[in-house]
């Protein structure tokens, strides 16, 4: 038991240690929503409204447009962070690259519009810069973050076109979204094409990974059952171990079936604009 506890402590220390070292803010996994605020910058109602609106927008037009608010990009330059986040989240459809993300980093006092390859003609840099310079940052400076981001999204959707129920008044304009222009140049592939041998090796890797994961779950079950009986004091509830397994499974299944945002395979190449306040 002592050995096990020692190991656990070591594991926790290692995890904490790496977290503390991260002055560089890692790119988080793809958000599950169209609008995300991890900085508490916007009112929850604003986030919910934007999320519903952008979700409906995707259903209507196929374009993926996100709002993402996080405190800071750490030591990484804003543009570097956002292009990597775009690549990781794969916003927009594959081949069309019709994605766009409005980023706000309150601690850094930075706003960025990151434009997918397919929207570079629809939302040129000068347009993105104007939206930031004339609409978003003045409102933030005036202490109206919710209005700033909402108005920013209004203008972005107006530029891209095709929103069914024009929120900023006006008759509902039926889908007149211009088809995104696919790049004339060959697609950049994040990973070079693999040969079958590599894929096979990867399959084996995944299998081994899955086996290890199952092993860990069983170990957790064992631990949870074991500790109370052997006089462990830090597990007070007598849940049977399946509680933990259920939780783990639930979170995995939940993230797959909840119908949240998931990237369509789009890419960006650093187009867009950055502003600060």
């Amino acid at each position: 038991m002592r050995v096990l506890r020692g190991l656990l402590a070591l594991l926790i220390l290692t995890v904490l240690g790496t977290a503390a070292n991260a002055a560089e803010v890692a790119i988080p996994p793809s958000p599950a929503h169209w609008a995300t605020d991890t900085a508490g910058f916007l009112k929850p109602q604003t986030v919910a409204d934007l999320d519903a609106r952008l979700r409906a927008y995707q259903a209507e037009t196929g374009h993926q447009i996100l709002v993402y608010v996080a405190p800071t990009t750490g030591t990484t330059p804003t543009e570097d962070w956002t292009v990597r986040a775009f690549a990781r989240w794969k916003v927009g459809r594959k081949g069309l690259d019709d994605g766009l993300i409005l980023f706000v980093f309150p601690t850094d006092r930075k706003v960025r519009i990151e434009v997918g390859y397919g929207f570079e003609q629809t939302v040129p840099d000068a347009t993105a810069a104007r939206i930031i310079r004339d609409t978003i940052t003045p409102k933030i400076r005036a202490g109206q973050p919710d209005e700033a981001v909402t108005a920013g999204v209004d203008e972005i959707l107006a530029a891209v076109g095709g929103e069914a129920s024009g929120k900023a008044g006006g008759a509902p304009s039926k889908v007149d979204a211009p088809a995104p222009v696919p790049r004339a140049t060959p697609q950049w592939e994040p990973y070079p094409a693999r040969d079958p041998g590599e894929t096979f090796g990867e399959a084996i890797g995944i299998l081994i990974g899955a086996l290890i994961a199952v092993g860990i779950v069983f170990l957790l079950i064992k631990l949870a059952r074991w500790l109370p009986d052997t006089g462990g004091t830090y597990v007070s509830s007598h849940d049977d171990g399946w509680g933990i397994a259920g939780m783990l499974l639930g979170s995995v299944v939940g993230s797959v079936t909840s119908g949240g945002f998931s990237g369509g395979g789009g890419m960006s190449g650093g187009g867009g604009a950055t502003g600060s306040w």
């Binding site: 292009v83 840099d125 950049w188």
Partner: protein, 199 residues
């Protein structure tokens, strides 16, 4: 007689296996080479995009009263050097051509950043809508250049790693310059905090 046939058969099998291995390695190099070439096309297109902005930029700053002539002349000259580059295809395979390309583009970069620094002394120009739009386009393009260069380096690195590993390096050698090592972009002067590639 049987023995002769056996040896012959064995030889055929060995040669067949060797040929298959060779073909597989060759195809893999071709695939990786294609990835580098298509990324090179992206790099060229973002640099072209920047060059296309220059005439408009020069005529805009010319219009501002008493704008320091030497700065925009330097930009125009650097741009024409870029325009005179006639390196053809295969630049990534040719370290000399690659160095020329880089040097010309870096020359334009530094002339441009000097000009943009000088603009700070002309508040009227800086505040004009026309210049603000141009500046946004220039910044966006510089950012695109940084991104595509980084991706090019990544693709080149993938190619080189495969090319130089054993036994691929033997196969690559058979084809001469076709599978030369790819050149890399070095971090631009003034941008020592080169973005870390982590796709």
């Amino acid at each position: 007689m049987n023995r002769g046939l056996l040896v012959l058969g064995g030889l055929v099998i060995v040669i067949a296996i060797a040929a298959m291995g060779l073909a597989g390695t060759y195809n893999r190099l071709v695939t990786l080479d294609q990835a580098v070439q298509s990324q090179w096309a992206q790099v060229e297109s973002v640099y072209q995009r920047r060059a296309d902005l220059i005439p408009n930029l020069v005529s805009t700053v010319k219009g501002a009263a008493n704008f320091e002539k030497s700065t925009y002349v330097a930009v125009a000259e650097a741009r024409s050097k870029v325009g005179q580059l006639n390196l053809g295809s295969g630049v990534p395979n040719d370290p000399e051509a690659f160095a020329k390309f880089s040097a010309a583009q870096d020359g334009l970069s530094s002339a441009l950043s000097h000009l943009l620094a000088v603009v700070e002394n002309y508040p009227n120009l800086k505040a004009s809508q026309n210049f603000a739009d141009l500046q946004a386009q220039l910044e966006g393009t510089e950012n695109r250049i940084a991104v595509e260069r980084m991706r090019f380096n990544k693709a080149a690195q993938t190619f080189n790693t495969t090319r130089d590993s054993f036994p691929t390096v033997l196969v690559a050698g058979l084809f001469g310059a076709r599978f030369n090592e790819k050149a890399y972009f070095k971090s631009q002067p003034g941008s020592e905090t080169a973005p870390k590639v982590n796709f």
